[in-house]
């Protein structure tokens, strides 16, 4: 078990390093921060001075080594735009993003999973068909369309909810809904198919055959088996808690990580973009790690495999 965990952690660190390296190289190859920050009509001396100040005149690999070295000492760089600690800027924005993504995740889980399980247990019923249809709508409509649709209905036509900003809790409703609808659909479909598969297994028939009441068969014998695929999807959603709001934050002018990312990429604010990508990669990797550990807890057969 210890070996399993330590190899997983090592693998996680390698993944994060790969993401950082990729981001580092691509960001520097794809545009010149000096041009973007200073504008097109500045004298060459200013550009050179800017590059020298930020170390951009050095060869790429030297910049890279310096960057990695700095990271290991806890220095994540400084924003070219605000001259403030890049990590500080990013961390300040996290609460705003989580204000949207955590309620959205909650809605996905408490609506998506029960809807899918109920549909699976009442196959071919009107509810089942309704769930399938709603799920298809939910996850085929892109979030920018869904967001605009909701704005059209609730802000413009009905005038019930604000269409942008972060002033009151009502401002959070539409972005949260926009983000959760697709996930509800995905979870409902996955829970439904996982549950249908499990309910057809011989051990479910065994549980019924030994006289167990139906509810107990579902709760004690079926759900624990259906949990593995469901946990996989939920884990992916947890991993997207920070990354998942880019489009929605932009639509609803929500001052979170997603907006910061869009602005920083446009400005070639290298340190900030790298910090955001680091945070995103870290949450994704950590949630994957948790899911892997949960697998072993949920299914003893997987536990046996990972021990070897």
């Amino acid at each position: 078990m210890l070996r399993f965990v330590s190899t997983r952690i090592l693998r996680a660190l390698i993944t994060i390093l790969a993401v950082l390296t990729f981001a580092f190289v691509v960001l520097r190859m794809s545009g010149d921060p000096a041009q973007v920050m200073l504008g097109p009509d500045v004298p060459q001396e200013s550009v050179d001075a800017f590059r020298k100040a930020w170390g951009l005149d050095q060869p790429l690999w030297i910049q890279y080594l310096a960057y990695i070295k700095a990271i290991f000492t806890g220095d994540f760089g400084v924003s070219m735009r605000d001259k403030a600690s890049a990590m500080q800027l990013v961390i300040e924005r996290i609460p705003a993003t989580l204000q949207l993504t955590i309620p959205a995740l909650f809605l996905k889980v408490v609506i998506g999973i029960p809807a899918g399980v109920y549909a699976a247990l009442h196959r071919q019923s009107a509810v089942d068909r309704g769930v399938i249809l709603a799920a298809i709508f939910g996850f085929t409509i892109p979030s920018f369309v869904m967001g605009l649709l909701l704005v059209l209905i609730f802000s413009i036509t009905l005038g019930l909810l604000p269409s942008g900003g972060q002033d009151t809790w009502q401002h959070g409703i539409l972005p949260t809904l926009t983000m959760s609808i697709g996930g509800i659909g995905i979870l409902a479909r996955f829970s439904r198919s996982a549950m249908i598969e499990v309910m057809g297994q011989p051990y479910i028939r065994t549980a019924s055959a030994k006289g167990m009441p139906w509810q107990d068969v579902v709760w004690r014998h079926a759900l624990p088996n259906a949990a593995v695929p469901i946990v996989t999807i939920v884990g992916f959603m947890v991993g997207s808690l920070i990354a998942g709001a880019v489009v929605v934050e932009s639509i609803f002018s929500w001052p979170g990580i997603g907006r910061l990312l869009v602005v920083s990429v446009t400005n070639r604010d290298l340190a900030v973009v790298q910090c955001i990508l680091l945070m995103i990669a870290a949450t994704m990797v950590v949630s994957n790690l948790i899911v892997d550990l949960l697998y072993g807890w949920l299914d003893p057969r997987l536990r046996a495999q990972s021990a070897h």
Partner: protein, 337 residues
């Protein structure tokens, strides 16, 4: 209201999505009796008992009557079925490894049944579960109580299934091809266990199998099923020595013999018809070498013969012999050994 028979099936019919797969099964199971159900895959032998216990998927339509000590199961509320399952009639299945829940400890799966049927919990349930595991021959039960099904072999999983079935002290154990998925040596052990347990507990046994040798070991009586109907029913001796239905005869001819001169096995020609397009008349007639014109137009009823067996055939093979008993025993022994 207590009837002589433990279980009575009357006109039990099953259809899947409108396709009739079981065409009216009548069967009485006496207390303590062991009955074999024999036939090729898809003839309805498993479906009969899954239907009786309401264990078929929702798309199945079940009609007819299943009475346990006079209590009707078909069409009753779910609680009636739940009260019979495991308590009056327990069932074990073909693939023991996938019949146990992979994410629950083996001990818990047994104590669950004890809680349902005998209200045992905690240490009492644990002690009783250990006793049952001992009884079915799981070595070192105390340690293995906490293990998961994948840590058991197929044969041991079937023993655990049997222990679980015994938890409710049922009056009838339905064993649905309990040895088909197991190695030959393990098969013999499981058969011995079933025979032993029946002798100890006095519970009736329904033994579903396509292995005639195994059936003859476990049962006194057998029903041969074909395409959703019973075609011949009688004592093991009668069926073995003097099969009257050409299909029963065909099943015996297809068994390899271990002693005597080398003989070519005679397979039954053709395949089982699909339930969707059963032939008119006797369902076996297209494969039957004795079929005559009337076989293809009129389906024979299952009628009693003078020797006590039931037969559904217009032109039976074999004949009633004066003294068949000795002969029968020899054949039984041959097939078993």
């Amino acid at each position: 209201m207590v009837s002589k028979n433990l279980v009575e099936l009357r006109g039990l019919k099953v259809a899947f999505d409108g396709v009739q797969v079981l065409h009216g099964i009548d069967l009485d199971v006496g207390r303590g009796e062991a009955i074999g159900l024999v036939g090729e895959s898809g003839c309805g032998k498993s479906v009969t008992w899954l239907a009786a216990l309401g264990l078929l998927p929702g798309k199945a339509t079940v009609s007819g009557s299943v009475r346990v000590d006079g209590q009707e199961l078909i069409g009753g509320p779910r609680t009636v079925l739940e009260g019979v399952r495991g308590k009056r009639i327990a069932m074990i299945f073909q693939d023991p490894s996938s019949s146990l829940n992979p994410v629950l400890r083996v001990g818990r799966q047994i104590t669950e049944a004890l809680a349902i049927h005998r209200g045992l919990s905690g240490d009492a349930a644990r002690a009783e579960a250990l006793r049952l595991l001992d009884m079915v021959g799981i070595p070192d039960a105390r340690r293995r109580f906490e293990l998961f099904p994948h840590e058991f072999s197929g044969g041991q999983c079937q023993r655990v299934m049997i222990a679980m079935a015994l938890a409710g002290e049922p009056d009838l154990l339905v064993a649905d091809e309990p040895t088909t998925a197991l190695d030959a040596t393990i098969q013999a052990q499981i058969l011995d266990l079933l025979i032993e347990l029946r002798a100890e507990t006095g519970m009736a046994t329904i033994f579903i199998s396509h292995d005639l040798g195994a059936v003859s070991q476990v049962c006194e009586r057998a029903c041969v099923m074909y395409a959703g109907r019973i075609v011949e029913q009688g004592t093991i001796e009668a069926l073995f020595d003097n099969p009257r239905h050409p299909y029963t005869r065909g099943l015996f001819d297809a068994i390899p013999r271990l002693d005597g001169p080398r003989e070519r096995l005679i397979p039954i020609q053709g395949t089982v018809p699909h339930p969707r397009d059963l032939p008119e008349g006797c369902a076996f007639s297209p494969r039957c070498s004795h079929a005559a014109v009337d076989c293809r137009s009129h389906r024979p009823d299952l009628d009693p013969l003078a020797d006590g067996r039931l037969l559904a055939c217009h032109h039976p093979v074999g004949q009633v012999l004066a003294d068949t008993r000795r002969n029968a025993e020899t054949r039984v022994m041959e097939t078993v050994s």
